[in-house]
Amino acid sequence: MLRESSYLKAAIAYELAFFEGMPSTLLNNVLLKQATCYKMSGKYDRALLSLERADFYSGSDSLRFLLYYEYAINAMLAKRYDLAYSKIAELYYELPKADHSIILPLEILCLNELQRWEEAHAKYQAFARVNNIAEDPYPEILAFKKKNPDKAFSLSFWMPGLGQMYAGYFWKGALSSMLNAGLITLSVWGFLDAYYFSGLFTGVALFYLSYNGGARYAEVLANQYNERKAKEFNMTVSAIVTGYKK
């Protein structure tokens, strides 16, 4: 709490300097420091607002590089991956002679979050070469075929439970098949015994609900499966590039 309050006070100090005016050569420095204060207190969107007031096209290359880097990292932390990646691309264009190896881990993580695996793999290979890392987790994700939610939905319409099995949840699919088979049996048994109302309104109605609900659930499960795989993979790569896993 105390630490957060100190960061806020420092951010105010930088804002006051901005408000009272200063030489343009110092403006970027002040805004960069202010953004750092906000970043340290977890206010990433506010850090982005500070940096948006900076002039990315003037000053020394090293300071400009820092501005781009901080903007990208704050956008990444704010889960605005498109924005982070566009700033990294701008950095490459504006500062072609800078040492880009520093920005590589960020770029890899960003591309992973955007699920642009092939581009991320190329960047990862460059990163691995520089850092002597033999491990390459990408072949698995590149070979991974995403589950198609529409296909899961359609499969469950053809045969209840099949969509869940396709989505990677075999037992949920098997349970759905058995439930729907039981409801069909109940309906047929009702009609054969001349319980027309019960057969129609209990058996058929419940089957209808279970049949439709099962297909929608299969769609949800396919999406969940894709998201889980991507998240697991991103965490693996994140552990490697940030140095937590040697």
């Binding site: 309050s5 806020l8 006070k9 420092a10 951010a11 105010i12 100090a13 930088y14 804002e15 006051l16 300097a17 408000f19 110092l26 420095n29 002040v30 420091k33 506010r46 607002l49 001349a194 319980y195 027309y196 109302f197 019960s198 309104f201 209990t202």
Partner: protein, 285 residues
């Protein structure tokens, strides 16, 4: 580095200045226009601790109260607005009006009225605003005769309240012409014809759906009774389900009448609160 050190010293000296000077006010305005509310509050709290005269304190308390008001932190807003003393006349009046509005927003109508009445004897425009706010409270609490008497004191030509005063008259008509539907009648109607109570409450589609479901359940119960007799498990299960649904629907219909009535009142209430806020904002900005 030296520059940054200098900057920090500048900030410390700024934050500890005893005067809540015009430059400080301008900086706070700058923070607010950039939606830096936490920062503005911190600056104001520092200033409040350092202020020496009552007028400075009042001015800062009003600002803090209004920031909390913008952030919808109404209890905190009231706390700071109520700390404004009557020594600073204009600031005091503004604080009292906003504090009263906050009380009303928190459904503490009596507190709101009390604060508005405390402005009796103020300048004419403040009195007009206080009376206008009070007329809103009377509408919110459905005290239509009190509304009628206080609205005669309002100047309908004053542009600050003109539109909202006209809106209030419409709300008054809507409230007085509202049919008082009884939850009891809703329940009785659903007991006679399942779903009829919901139609009476104003939920036509829900009523028809309830009627269909009850009919289907009744058909299955009758079928079980005719084929298996009254002691069969099938009849007991379907009969129990039907009974539960039937009784639940009677209770649900009575509830629906209340819910629909409250929804309608809430919609008007939100409109009234919105209209109470507009003149305050317009006048004091």
């Amino acid at each position: 580095m030296r520059f940054l050190l200098g900057l920090s010293l500048l900030a410390i000296s700024f934050l500890s200045q005893a005067q809540f000077s015009k430059s400080s006010q301008a900086f706070v305005s700058h923070l607010l226009s950039n939606k830096m509310y936490d920062e503005a509050l911190l600056v104001l709290h520092e200033k409040l601790g350092d202020s020496r005269t009552q007028q400075q304190k009042d001015s800062i308390n009003l600002s803090i109260g209004k920031i909390h008001y913008s952030l919808q932190q109404l209890p905190q807003s009231i706390q700071f607005l109520d700390a404004v003393s009557s020594e600073s006349e204009f600031v005091y009046e503004e604080a009292k009006l906003f504090s009263a509005f906050n009380e009303v927003y928190l459904n503490r109508f009596d507190q709101g009225i009390k604060k508005l009445k405390a402005l009796n004897g103020s300048k004419q425009y403040v009195q007009q605003l206080a009376n206008f706010e009070m007329s809103g409270v009377f509408l919110l609490t459905n005290r239509l005769s009190s509304y009628d008497s206080i609205s005669t004191l309002l100047n309908p030509e004053w542009n600050i309240i003109q539109q909202q005063h006209s809106n209030f008259r419409n709300y008054r008509s809507a409230l007085s012409s509202e049919k008082q539907k009884s939850p009891f009648t809703g329940g009785v109607l659903s007991a006679l014809i399942p779903g009829a109570g919901k139609v009476y409450a104003g939920r036509k589609a829900n009523g028809i759906y309830t009627f269909l479901i009850t009919s289907i359940m009744a058909a299955q119960t009758v079928e079980a009774y005719r084929k298996d007799g009254p002691r069969s498990a099938r009849f007991i299960i379907y009969g129990s389900l039907l009974s539960s649904f039937y009784i639940g629907n009677i209770w649900g219909s009575a509830l629906a009448v209340k819910v629909v009535r409250n929804e309608r009142r809430d919609a008007i209430k939100n409109q009234i609160l919105f209209d109470m806020h507009i003149p305050l904002r317009t006048f004091f900005q």
